[in-house]
């Protein structure tokens, strides 16, 4: 992440941020970066950016958020959502980031079953990870 930060109204109200807000229904600017979500996320160790960092990028209108692996490792368990003191459901934000990629035809995590799975696993995987 950049060491110098240039804040301007354009950056803070970027179309990207608005789109994420619209799709998720969650106000990214409510987040004050306390980090409880990241502390509680069971999958944070496998993410290239912590949940609160992902949200930070959204706040700053930075489309680098779309190129992260973090949203694809999120399991929608909502541990973040129940811990957030501001009631921000970061899982919805993660889903919005996934959908913005998927709807553009970018599928970083194609689902190719390597062995038999019960339907519940396949239904969930296709639902969250494919367009």
């Amino acid at each position: 992440m950049a060491s110098e930060l240039n804040l301007s109204r354009d950056r803070l109200e970027a179309p990207f941020s608005r789109r994420v807000e619209e799709l998720s229904g969650e106000n990214p600017y409510a987040c004050y970066q306390c980090g409880k979500c990241s502390a509680g996320c069971p999958f944070a160790d496998h993410m290239d950016a912590l949940p609160n960092q992902v949200l930070r990028l959204v706040q700053l209108g930075d489309e680098a958020a779309l190129r992260l692996s973090a949203p694809w490792v999120c399991a929608s368990c909502l541990a973040c959502a129940v811990r957030c003191p501001k009631g921000v459901d970061i899982a919805k934000t993660m889903e919005a980031l996934r959908l913005l990629s998927l709807r553009k035809g970018i599928t970083p995590a194609p689902v190719v079953p390597d062995r038999p799975y019960p339907q519940i696993a396949l239904v969930g995987a296709y639902r969250k990870l494919t367009p």
Partner: protein, 223 residues
Amino acid sequence: MNEVTVFIMGKGYRVPEGLTIMKAMEYAGYRLGRGCGCRGGYCGACATVYRLRGDYRLYADLACQTPVQDGMYIAQLPFTPAERPPYQLADLQPRGETLLALFPELARCVACNTCTKACPQKLEVMDAVQAALRGDIPQVAEFTFDCVSCGLCTMRCPAEISHHHVWQLARRLNGAYLTPRALHVQKRVQEIAAGVFKSDLDALLSLGRDALVAAYKAREIES
């Protein structure tokens, strides 16, 4: 003779009422190289989609079975691309897991019912997908018995499922493993192999033509 207007490839033609779409196309001068098969509603080659004037709905049917309507706007599917994974029936287990392993996209079904609306055989296609998802192979076989593999459901499906390939596998698994065996057939085959009918067959083969004809005319007929 009453005539109606149908639109084939976007062009309007006046055709006699009462013709099927297929006959109407030929009446209009088309020679059908693709999209035409048994002409009897059985092979699924003539899958057709159409709209009617003032109706938002998209209809789907077999051209050889569907009478024309005034204002029908027709397009045909020459072929439905639907890859089928290779498998050996003898290596498969008759379980839901098998269907999902070969066709994992079944799990993408959102229960939108578009497949059912597209089916010219009026099958309960969505219910068949759901039965497949549950692993209920006999139910899938029952629901899809009349499927003609026209591919209309597959073309329309947002989840990109290749329905007719799934049905074929399910019916094959059902027939090979789950339906009751025809024991009387097995018994008869064993009897034949054991030579129970050998002397009767030999006697028949040794008859001359006239004796054979007489024996045929005098045969026992079940009524």
